[in-house]
């Protein structure tokens, strides 16, 4: 069996709209090629309207018109169920959903039906894919909740009776109860407070290790990636601009955008002036020619304005799309100054 569970090749997915006579095309995902290994946490970072959410929609096989795949393939190598979700039928996708491919969504309230007890929601989601019913099913769910350090009592509760952190743990439970091979986590901790966020992150990390699943973790917060991801991919204006092992991305970035994202994170114990990146993310409806980052890039040369930089391998598992990657300097030193720890 190949080491890659997901292989995305030349994926283009656009929103094609006919807005009362006005044709519009938004190239939300424009030529992304990447792969995700088994038993890996892959972090995807990007700003709002960078196309990361659209990319995730394709990975989760949740495209809805007017959003559609225009070119490329998204191949999953599930055990006994290889599938290309870019072209698969609804029925084929239904067969792998939850059992092989599942997702943890941002707002736990939108996943949990407010008028159904948690236990019922578990039945709705998982009974069919697991092929269990009655007591056997219940035992399986309780055993799984135990791993998430949730008591069986939550099955009798309604969503509103639980705290935000508990609810998010329940949604993680829903997403993992069928032991999927691939989990997509879309901003699962964005709405949570810092203390709870850390707990939930470590929970996701633990359960991933235990089950040996692959996780795609999407968030705009680089400090979250620093702590959960094995590799991080940066999406800018619909394109993957850099991907690499987390540590290298933070301390030896090879794309000026990554360098800026990392450098703009303030740290406790460090009051040195932080640089700010000027300009604004481009519109996906009319992205700039050449490298899409060039209008904001401090290193931009004429070539960047006209020619699209190809993905180049710059290290083990490390690729970047920048004409001047050799000149990219990390803007923060690995050990600038540690705060006094307590």
């Amino acid at each position: 069996m190949a080491n890659e569970i997901l292989t995305v090749d030349g994926l283009k997915a656009y929103y094609q709209m006919n807005y009362y006579g006005v044709q519009r095309e938004v190239r939300a995902v424009d030529d992304i090629t990447m792969s995700i290994k088994r038993n890996e946490v892959y972090g995807i970072a990007g700003e709002s309207s960078s196309g990361k959410t659209s990319f995730i929609k394709v990975l989760a096989a949740a495209m809805r018109p007017p959003f559609r795949v225009v070119a490329g393939s998204v191949k999953y190598d599930f055990k006994g169920h290889p599938i290309d979700v870019a072209t698969a039928s609804d029925k084929q996708i239904e067969a792998v959903r939850w059992k092989h491919l599942s997702y943890i969504m941002q707002g736990s309230m939108s996943v949990l039906n407010p008028v159904r007890r948690i236990g019922k929601t578990f039945e709705d989601f998982a009974a069919k894919p697991l092929g269990l019913s009655g007591d056997a099913f219940k035992q399986r769910v309780i055993g799984h909740l135990d791993r998430l350090k949730l008591s069986p009592d939550v099955l009798r509760a309604y969503p509103h009776e639980l705290s935000g952190g508990m609810r998010q743990r329940v949604t993680i439970g829903l997403a993992t109860v069928c032991h999927p091979e691939f989990i997509i986590a879309d901003e699962p901790t964005t709405a949570l407070d810092v203390v709870v966020q850390k707990e939930v992150l470590s929970l996701i990390r633990d359960i991933q290790k235990e089950m040996g699943a692959s996780v795609v973790f999407v968030t705009h917060d680089m400090s979250v990636h620093a702590n959960v991801a094995d590799r991080v991919g940066i999406i800018y204006a619909g394109r993957l601009v850099e991907e690499g092992p987390t540590r290298e991305m933070f301390f030896a970035p090879k794309h000026p955008y990554t360098a800026h994202l990392v450098a703009s994170l303030p740290r406790i114990g460090d009051t040195a002036q932080r640089p700010a990146l000027e300009g604004r993310p481009p519109s996906l409806a009319s992205p700039p020619a050449g490298c899409r980052f060039h209008p904001r890039c401090p290193l931009a040369v004429d070539k960047c304005k006209t020619e699209v930089p190809p993905m180049e391998t710059v290290g083990k598992d490390h690729r970047t799309a920048c004409w001047r990657w050799k000149d990219v300097e990390p803007l923060v030193a690995p050990h600038a100054s540690h705060g006094v720890m307590v």
Binding site: N18, Y19, Y20, G21, V22, P65, P66
Partner: protein, 285 residues
């Protein structure tokens, strides 16, 4: 605005049909401005003539040319409907926006009044007005009275939108930019409720014209003023069907149905245009 209109015609069949039907009725009603006869006078032509080249819609038992009679009737009824709709929209916007934004006791008092108007049965009240005012109950007075009853449901609808707008950050921002309450309501919030106002405008016209027809057929309005309702009243009182003057009933009924379907289709397609979910469905596939 014009582009939206053009796109609606091109992509929304209901809107196009509605527009054609209503347009047809409006042009017909507008012809009354060029009428060669005064529609309030009787025995101006030979009575009971069937539709012909000379009398397109025939003549009735009161010696009136039905074409010009109905043209005037539709003009009066449409003006009546628009008057009621405009007046009641003004009340519902004022009450709804203020109630939602001010909250507290203002909201409670206004909604108490609102609920009284919802609960009061309108038909007996209109009949009562007729008995008190008799012949001084002209079209405009009736429109005023009906406008006073035509606002409460829509005011509630507008209030619910205003309640949501009140808590949006831009409202607080506007307050701290020194805008007065009336400025916030009229310039910040009104654009958000205009879609509701347009959609309910058509519905309100349907309601008021329908009610006027009911009143007139029963003889509770000024019968000398030609409206859709009074035309039917006179037809009924001359037993038009019994004596074989079928065109006196049939033609106005067909025209009313055209008007109502037209207005209904316009209201529906506007609603759909306003609601982005259904717009997406239409574009989808």
């Amino acid at each position: 605005m014009f582009a939206v209109f053009r796109d609606l015609i091109r992509y929304n069949l209901e809107f196009t049909i509605g527009l054609i039907l209503v347009g047809f009725v409006v042009i017909f009603a507008a012809l009354s401005f060029f009428s060669p006869v005064d529609p309030t006078l009787i025995y101006m032509t030979i009575p009971d003539q069937p539709p012909s080249g000379q009398y397109w819609f025939g003549t009735n038992s009161r010696g009136q040319d039905l074409f010009w009679q109905l043209s005037a009737a539709f003009k009066n009824s449409l003006i009546f409907g628009i008057t009621v709709a405009v007046l009641s929209r003004i009340i519902s916007i004022a009450v709804g926006l203020l109630s939602g934004y001010a909250g507290g006791w203002v909201d409670r008092v206004l909604m108490f009044i609102n609920d009284i108007f919802v609960a009061v049965p309108i038909f007996p009240i209109l009949v009562l007005f007729y008995f008190v005012l008799r012949n001084s109950l002209d079209s405009f007075t009736l429109a005023l009275i009906m406008a006073c009853f035509g606002w409460p449901f829509d005011a509630r609808l507008i209030r619910s939108v205003a309640l949501g707008l009140k808590h949006r950050e831009f409202t607080r921002h506007a307050v701290f930019a020194g805008m007065s309450t009336s400025k916030v309501l009229l310039e910040e919030h009104l654009p958000y409720v205009m879609p509701i106002v347009f959609a309910t405008f058509m519905n309100n016209m349907l309601w008021s014209i329908g009610l006027e027809v009911t009143m007139a057929v029963l003889g509770f309005t000024n019968l000398n003023n030609p409206t859709i309702g009074t035309v039917l009243y006179w037809a009924n009182s001359h037993s038009a069907m019994m004596v074989g003057v079928w065109w006196w009933i049939l033609i106005p009924v067909v025209l009313i149905v055209i008007t109502f379907i037209g207005l209904f289709l316009l209201a529906m397609s506007m609603n759909e245009y306003i609601d982005p979910r259904s717009r997406l469905r239409r574009m989808g596939a």
